[in-house]
């Protein structure tokens, strides 16, 4: 028994024995193996001698006892040991890598995502996952693309390497935690131990990069570093971090034609999300108590998803921005002026697009149901025989009420449809909305 386990070796938890089938990964702390027990396959992380510490053991024990915050987590199921006292490990569920892509591989360019919906859904679920973790009094410490997996055909996510997780009360800064580019500035500078607050910084980096690809702090300053080493990174991410779109400090803008992939995305994003990212990477950069919280991200991301519309010239996806209605942009794909808007639904201060293929969850229309973003609440339905007539179909158990053109009051239950009409007011269960039909802007 040693740092590496050979095929056929047995290890055991209190309850089960596991047979090592093959090595499936390796890292600084040890190796990961495919193991089998009672006909079920699992992943086993086996710590090398240096990492097989008492603290690590207690840490995993705590996580096993607490249990996973939700099904988004590839959580330790049991501690296992072999013949030697020098090493131990833990078993966890196996990740279906046919379905899920590790985000490092996504950012390495292995797959391209064509539509925004699933990308935004993945962002929402990532934010929600860390929210669940933080609510159980834990912090992750090393949020990065290396431990996030996304199914880009559904937006489902998995958070793995959860042996990074610990109780959110660390004070020591002698051990460095984190991955470059994701660590909060105060962690990079060695002033603070990782915490929920520093996780929130890492989360904002993940979300910015999911939507813009480029790193929020990697502009001109990073581009001009020839050989990047420890000191260069401490300066870039710790001592002098500057957001590439900082509204005042323009010294770290993307480098035209060389490192400017974010520009194409930033220009089409609605103002509210740009403002949120600006907040995250200006105020939130330096003040751990003013970081954007997960619920705020989730609300904004839901709004971003509900702002998706199409360019009626080329079919590309665009975002509606009420602040830009009077100065229309050209579609970045076909370069024609964006002049046609789809029907919209206004609920309080939210404007939700009603595209031909829109499906909305309760979270997108009801402020009080932020986390209810998975089940469909309503969808746009086109009349099968009269394609010029669009309606919204009730997919919920709420009873909707509206008044028709001739003054008749009607109720619509599940699977019923309300035809869209300019100015139509609708009472959905606990909230009200008004429809505005598609317009052609001048």
């Amino acid at each position: 028994m040693s740092d590496s386990l050979s095929k056929g070796t047995w290890v055991a938890s209190n309850e089960r024995r596991y047979k090592v089938l093959e090595e499936i990964g390796s890292g600084g702390q040890g190796n990961v193996y495919l193991v089998e027990s009672e006909g079920m396959k699992y992943a086993l992380k086996w710590y090398n001698k240096t990492s097989s510490t008492v603290e690590q053991y207690r840490g995993i024990e705590l996580l096993v006892d607490k249990g996973a915050p939700s099904e988004k987590f590839i959580w330790p199921l049991a501690i296992v040991e072999g013949e030697s006292k020098d090493n131990f490990g833990y078993v966890m569920p196996l990740i279906d890598t046919k379905r899920y892509t590790k985000l490092t591989h996504y950012f390495g360019g292995e797959i391209k995502v064509k539509r925004y919906e699933y990308l935004i859904d993945a962002c929402i679920k990532i934010a929600h996952g860390y929210n669940e973790l933080h609510l159980s009094g834990l912090c992750y410490r090393d949020i990065s693309f290396g431990n996030l997996f996304v199914d880009f055909s559904t937006g489902d996510i998995l958070i793995c390497d959860n042996d990074n997780v610990t109780i959110d009360n660390l004070t020591g800064t002698d051990q460095i935690w984190g991955t470059q580019g994701f660590m909060a500035p105060e962690v990079v500078r060695g002033e603070q131990a990782p915490s929920t607050q520093t996780d929130l910084f890492s989360l904002s980096v993940v979300l910015f990069r999911m939507l813009h690809l480029q790193h929020p702090l990697q502009g001109k300053r990073e581009y001009e570093i020839e050989i990047v080493d420890y000191d260069a990174l401490v300066d870039l991410y710790g001592k002098n971090p500057v957001f590439i779109y900082d509204p005042i400090d323009e010294t770290n803008r993307p480098v035209k034609g060389k490192k400017d992939i974010a520009d194409g995305y930033w220009q089409i994003m609605p103002s509210f999300i740009k403002e949120r990212f600006t907040e995250a990477f200006t105020v939130g950069l330096n003040d751990p108590n003013h970081r954007v919280r997960e619920s705020i991200w989730i609300r904004d991301l839901l709004m971003l998803k509900a702002s998706l519309m199409y360019c009626y010239q080329c079919g590309a996806q665009l975002f509606y921005d009420r602040h830009r209605l009077n100065r229309q942009d050209n579609c970045p794909h076909c370069n024609t002026k964006v002049s046609v808007l789809p029907p919209r639904l206004r609920i309080n201060d939210r404007i939700v697009m009603l595209n031909h293929d829109t499906v909305l969850s309760a979270a997108e229309v009801d402020d009080t149901r932020l986390m209810d973003y998975e089940a469909p609440y309503m969808k746009v339905e086109i009349h099968p025989r009269h394609p010029e007539i669009w309606g919204i179909k009730n997919l919920s158990d709420d009873v909707w009420r509206y008044t028709t053109k001739d003054g008749t009051e009607k109720e619509v239950v599940k699977d019923g449809v309300i035809p869209m009409r300019e100015g139509q007011e609708i009472v959905f269960g606990r909230f009200e909305g008004q429809i505005r039909m598609g317009v052609k802007l001048k």
Binding site: K102, G178, Y223, I261, Q317
Partner: protein
């Protein structure tokens, strides 16, 4: 959505192997083990490259009587290893010089992670290695490199290998002594993967220590 094209502005990691191909490397199957060990490390380096933004570019030179490039700037995804043959004396200094010349000429204005340089040797240099090493460390890329050395067999001059490492990685590294085939395999894999990881993520701190060799894997070893 946008195409990514080449606008990500990623940087590459350059990985250099400096390999002793002098006559003495032909004894006891050293060169054959080395050939295999490098081949075995390739998929592991590829895994690191998959997780990194930018790619890993591999370069290899051999020194014996004189020095020459055997691989130049090959993306790890396309990298294959040709068996090396041995002949002649140990002009290690010339090897350092050849690398210094390349860094001076081809790396002007390049962007990258800290390059990783791995020196593999079984013997005593027969030329003025100090002059060559000085030239290498005087280059911008040579000075910033993470330099690791692996001694093959027990005849090696460890002072030379320690001088190559110098203050690289805060002076915490020592030459690795590969006394047999399985140790050599382990060390080459460790040096190429752990050092690459440390280069890509310098904020993580220390290089993890090389793996302990397991008794089971010593069965098919060649004794040097």
């Amino acid at each position: 959505m946008m195409d990514r094209e080449s606008r990500m502005g990623n940087r590459d990691l350059h990985l250099f192997f400096l390999i002793d191909a002098s006559d003495s490397m032909s004894y006891g199957g050293k060169i054959e083990t080395l050939n295999n060990a490098i081949r075995e490390s390739i998929p592991h380096i590829r895994e690191i490259a998959r997780d990194a933004e930018g790619s890993i570019k591999v370069h290899a030179l051999t020194f014996s009587t004189g020095a020459r490039w055997v691989q130049k700037n090959v993306d790890i995804r396309d990298f294959t290893w040709e068996n090396m043959t041995t002949k002649g004396v140990t002009d290690m200094g010339r090897g350092f010089e050849l690398l210094a010349e390349k860094l001076e000429n081809d790396f002007q204005g390049e962007r990258g992670y800290q390059p990783v340089m791995i020196l593999l040797s079984d013997g005593l240099p027969t030329d003025d290695y100090e002059a060559g090493l000085k030239k290498l460390k005087n280059t911008k890329w040579g000075a910033k490199a993470i330099r690791i050395s692996i001694a093959i067999g027990s005849e090696t001059d460890l002072d030379v290998l320690q001088a190559f490492i110098g203050d690289s990685f805060r002076g915490e590294l020592k030459p690795l002594k590969a006394k047999n085939a399985s140790e050599l395999k382990n060390y080459i894999r460790w040096a190429s993967t752990a050092a690459s990881t440390a280069s890509i993520n310098p904020l993580k701190g220390m290089l993890p220590p090389p793996p302990a060799v397991t008794p089971e894997s010593d069965v098919d070893e060649i004794d040097w």
